[in-house]
């Protein structure tokens, strides 16, 4: 069953979660994602789910921890300052290996920042954010349809690895309206969770959802287990999209709104004969490092386009490991790069190069 409707990005996060079988939402209001809790407060009662407007983001993420630890598909959503408050909880959740989904419709920072779209929470999302050696799996949708599809993938992947998944978008994606196909997932089934803490019913052995490892050896073993899991995720869960990279000399690496803007700029530059391609990471962690390394090996150079002072560029540089040049074009928090600006940055990157060849 599939219906085609117009939907706002923020509503897509919410309905996408419902379609993915999520029945527990805990959140706290913050712009520019208020449509998510508002939608959930209306929709959850219709599907027999639970909506709680928590007293803070701190409480919301800990409610997610409780519900997820009890075996439910649970989520929270927020925007940058609120996501900062959730970091302790996310660290606990990652370590206790509780599956859940966290949506960040990011806004400009740092501090209270502003309400404009931003990609400056990249480091926080992919490098940990909270304390300790842990990773969230991070999805970065680029359209309203992809928000819906990735919300489903987010819950499935969270359950598969018992790991928190963040869906990271910027305020523009949250506010944008696009036609989407809304379908019921035929293979929707929530897996058995024998590890969950649901009561020692009928002789079930004790389950403890826990991130404490007081003995050094115990703690190291816990970390080794996590790191092994992360290597498996890196092996299996990398997602990206390529457009015109084969013959490209310059590859723009961008995600979310930046990728959309870059695509138009690339088309313009292509029309002028410049060999430019687009590489769009869909998972920011695990990062598509292997593929970028291959492309560097093949002699391509790169430019990241970001709505930040340059964060993802560090991962691209790590991936290409000095084998090729990595340039940057970005507008800091609060401004969206225009097609013309990115086009000009591309053209500038080509300046003088042909001459030297």
């Amino acid at each position: 069953m599939a219906e085609r409707i117009m939907m706002k990005g923020n509503e897509a996060f919410a309905e996408g979660a419902i379609k993915a079988g999520c029945r527990f939402f805990f959140g706290y209001p913050i712009t520019p994602q208020n449509e998510i809790p508002e939608y959930m407060s209306r929709r959850m009662p219709e599907v027999g789910g639970t909506f709680i407007q928590a007293e803070s983001e701190v409480s919301a993420i800990n409610m997610v921890y409780g519900a997820g630890g009890a075996g439910a598909r649970a989520m929270t959503s927020s925007s940058s300052p609120g996501i900062s408050l959730k970091q302790e909880g996310i660290s606990y959740i990652a370590t206790a290996e509780v599956p859940c989904v966290i949506v960040n419709v990011a806004r400009g920072g740092p501090g209270l920042g502003g309400l404009t779209p931003s990609q400056a929470d990249y480091f926080q999302a992919v490098k940990g954010g909270g304390h300790g050696d842990y990773h969230m799996i991070v999805f970065a949708p680029g359209s309203v349809q992809e928000i819906i599809d990735l919300m489903y993938e987010a819950f499935v992947t969270a359950d598969k690895y018992r790991n928190p998944v963040m869906v990271l978008a910027d305020g523009l994606l949250g506010q944008m309206m696009e036609p989407v196909v809304l379908r019921d997932w035929e293979d929707l089934q929530i897996p058995e969770k024998p590890w969950a803490s649901t009561g020692m019913v009928a002789g079930k052995p004790q389950s403890v959802i826990n991130s404490l490892g007081l003995a050094p050896e115990e703690l190291e073993n816990m970390n080794i287990r996590l790191q092994n899991k992360y290597r498996t995720i890196e092996e299996n869960e990398v997602r990206y999209e390529e457009d015109g990279v084969e013959d490209a000399e310059l590859i723009i690496v961008a995600y979310g709104t930046s990728a959309r803007v870059s695509k138009s700029a690339i088309n313009k530059a292509r029309a002028e004969g410049k060999k430019v391609g687009l590489f769009r990471p869909i998972t920011l962690w695990p990062f598509p490092s292997k593929r970028l390394a291959e492309l560097a090996e093949a002699g391509k150079r790169f430019m990241t386009v970001e709505m930040s002072a340059g964060q993802m560029i560090e991962d691209v540089k790590l991936a290409v490991n000095g084998k090729s040049e990595v340039e940057f074009y970005g507008r800091y928090n609060g401004a969206i790069p225009s097609v013309t600006e990115v086009y000009q940055a591309i053209m500038k990157s080509f300046e003088g190069r042909e001459v030297h060849k």
Binding site: F24, F26, T50, I52, A54, E55, S56, V58, S59, A60, N62, M63, V64, Y65, G66, A67, G68, G69, A70, G71, A72, A74, E88, G89, Y92, A96, S197, T198, G199, M200, V201, A202, Q206, S207, V208, I209, N210, S211, L212, L214
Partner: protein
């Protein structure tokens, strides 16, 4: 032959890490007995705090989740909403509940979450080595109030039961102590009642238990029990503050 005394099934039969003479152990036993008597062990989920009771899941013989410092009521909310037919309780110290977790406890109480909270007030931060707690008595010396708690700059001990009793939603609020056998019996009664409220779907229940910390109070276990009786009970009056049925009578 009727067994009159034994090891509660809801308690794991293993040594605990509590200091000699610490009353955390007594409170554990009372909670376990209440769960046994209500025959809900198999469907009980404990939420352990950050504090001396952080390892409570090693002692209670039931499923458990370990919560971040102060967040146990939020975690319990998530569990209870996901599994409404389960019995969910938190076990929290005074630093955990009345300082860092003040927002969580107030709002869980205000929502009338159908959970039970065992609040162990020992007027100090036990686990971290005896710092001042929000419940530390005026003049009481701790490692961060070495001259005695100065009410001019640190305020007064927070009376959690009285404060929560200003809310409309809670179903049962009581303060008990475990400094002598008579009070231990009363504490047991209150704890069982609190769980009964939850079993009957009546809503939020909390029992504050005055408890000792001989180690960080710098006393022998016996001195600590006396100190509790003489100094804590006057500041934290014992009794039932809220009991829904009685209110509606």
């Amino acid at each position: 032959m009727k067994q009159v005394f034994g090891y509660p099934e809801s308690l794991q039969n293993r040594p605990n890490h509590y200091c000699p003479g610490c009353t955390h152990g007594i409170i554990h036993r009372l909670v376990a007995e209440a769960i046994d008597e209500l025959q809900v062990r198999e469907k009980t989920i404990a939420v352990a705090p950050v504090g001396c009771a952080v390892l409570a899941y090693n002692y209670f013989n039931c499923d458990a989740q370990q919560a971040a410092h102060g967040r146990a009521p939020a975690v319990a909310t998530g569990i209870k909403r996901a599994l409404p037919d389960r019995i969910v309780f938190t076990y929290q110290g005074d630093g955990d509940l009345a300082s860092i977790g003040m927002a969580e406890i107030v709002h869980a109480a205000n929502r009338g979450e159908n959970i039970t909270v065992i609040f162990v007030n020992n007027a100090i931060y036990g686990m971290t080595g005896g710092q001042m707690a929000p419940t530390t008595l005026p003049g009481q010396k701790t490692t961060t109030s070495p001259y005695g708690r100065d009410t001019a700059t640190t305020g007064y001990p927070i009376q959690v039961c009285e404060m929560l009793n200003t809310l409309k939603a809670p179903a049962f609020i009581a303060r008990v102590s475990v400094h002598d056998p008579k009070n231990v019996m009363k504490a047991k009664e209150a704890i069982k009642k609190a769980f009964e409220y939850q079993v009957n779907g009546k809503g939020f229940s909390l029992v504050e238990v005055l408890s000792t910390c001989p180690t960080n109070w710098g006393m022998t276990p016996v001195e600590a029990l006396k100190w509790l009786e003489n100094n804590m009970v006057p500041v934290f009056p014992l009794g039932t503050f809220r009991s829904l049925e009685e209110v509606s009578k």
